[in-house]
């Protein structure tokens, strides 16, 4: 009688990101970041897949924001910051010295933790990027770009009758969606979000999360979050950082049911000291 025991890997609960077949949008190899003498990121290798939401999780100070900022060279503005290694978007070297950083940031947009609308009208907030990049030919054209972005950010119905009012007069959740509209108005390929819901209540958070899920049809999204539940709800892939190292990156369902690394397990179950 055959009583051999075979351990099989559980199929992913979401059946989501199977590595094969999903193109890589951003490829990082051996990325090291220093702030002066501080070694903030250590040899990070990761493939960020197109049209997926990748969540970065990990304890405070582990380097999530640092890595996110490498992806559109926001670290360039930090005097002490040195980035080494290879970062490519669709094969293009992000740190190519001849690359136009303004163009890069149009391709890789960013949404911050605190909603930061400009003290301008709702319309002008969204039109800001398209104006800088000259992405329209006529007023009607710009109107259409603004409407499309606001619809894309699931905000249009709430603001279509008051586009001339100040963006700062919106609720926190609406402001965050306005910032997302502003980011998508320039037609980016990748949207980076650093704790985009930490200032929002659960309902506003649910709206933004629904939006993130819809946006991934057209964009590649990387989100930093301190909420394990949020990472579990919105992402297909999850990357766990710890003390500047990328400890593990896998299907979100695998990370939350059976992570490989003890440190990941400790962190997501709330055992981490």
């Amino acid at each position: 009688m055959d009583t051999t025991i075979i351990e099989t890997q559980m199929p992913s609960m979401l059946g989501a990101a199977q590595d094969a077949g999903i193109p890589v949008k951003i490829e990082a190899r051996g990325v090291n970041v220093h702030y002066g003498a501080k070694h903030a990121l250590k040899s990070v290798d990761i493939d960020i897949r197109a049209n997926q939401v990748t969540a970065f999780i990990g304890p405070s100070g582990c380097g999530k924001s640092t890595f996110l900022r490498c992806l559109n060279r926001m670290n360039d503005t930090i005097e002490s910051c040195r980035v080494a290694g290879s970062l490519r978007i669709d094969g293009d070297d992000i740190y190519d010295p001849t690359l136009d950083v303004v163009q890069l940031r149009a391709r890789v947009g960013m949404v911050f933790q605190k909603p930061n609308p400009f003290p301008k009208s709702i319309y002008d907030n969204v039109a800001y990027g398209p104006r800088i990049h000259g992405l329209f030919n006529s007023k009607a054209d710009l109107d259409a770009v603004v409407e499309k972005a606001l619809r894309g950010a699931a905000l249009w119905d709430e603001v279509k009758d008051r586009l001339g009012e100040s963006g700062t007069g919106l609720s926190g959740g609406q402001q965050q969606r306005l910032c997302i509209a502003r980011a998508i108005a320039v037609g980016p390929e990748v949207i980076l979000m650093d704790e985009p819901c930490s200032a929002l209540d659960p309902i506003a958070t649910a709206h933004v999360e629904t939006l993130i899920d819809e946006l991934r049809a057209n964009f590649t999204i990387v989100i930093v979050t301190h909420s394990m539940q949020q990472a579990a709800r919105v992402s297909q892939r999850t990357a766990f950082f710890h003390l500047g190292t990328l400890v593990e990156e896998d299907d979100t369902a695998t990370i939350f049911t059976n992570p490989r690394d003890e440190r990941t397990q400790g962190y997501i179950t709330g055992r981490y000291g």
């Binding site: 025991i5 075979i6 351990e7 099989t8 049911t257 990941t264 400790g266 055992r271």
Partner: protein, 239 residues
Amino acid sequence: MGNDHIVRSYDEELNRLTGLLARMGGLVEAELAGAIEAVSSRDAELATRTVRSDARVDDLEREIGEQVVRVMALRQPVASDLRLVLGSLRIAGDLERSADYAKNVAKRAVALAQLPVLRPVHAIPRMGTVVREMLKDVLDAFAARDVAKAVAVWNRDEELDEMHGSLFRELVTYMMEDPRNITGSTHLLFIAKNIERIGDHATNIAETIHYLVKGVPLAGERPKGDGTSFSTVGAEGAQ
């Protein structure tokens, strides 16, 4: 890295869950022991008491279900915690079914005590010993998160199935010898089947332990030492 949660009350809630399971396991062991003993010693009074004790097991299963819902709602467990919580719910279900089978054995013990002694009854305490050891070992394996011990229980199910198969054939022959044996033998058939089913639940628990400790299912062909579903006893068996 410690094994404790940063939030201590979370550990307390998980400990309460495993504590309830330990108590439930103990009650099921006692119920099973009572049922087997009632059959072998023809003790109708013990059998009746055993049947009544089943209600407590049902209560505990409900309590465990409520505790699971509570932990899920308040803590949103993930990874090993999630597997523990869901595994506990499944184990409670297997224990409740096991207790139901034990209760059924006890009920039949009441009926058997009124009938003349049947020769094949000797096999029941032997099967009972095996299934009680399986249940005890699998509960110990859960308490210690001991996968090797759980796998040993899983493998032992074959032995129980074989005992069931041979008792089945013996009883069929016995009934053919003398139709007056039919009533008692039928009770014994069901008792043996109930014990065999408890063994299956013990192996389910072993599989759950494997999953909750390792995060991957225990897969492969479960040993089957029983062919009763397909058994026939030829006319020569009646000679």
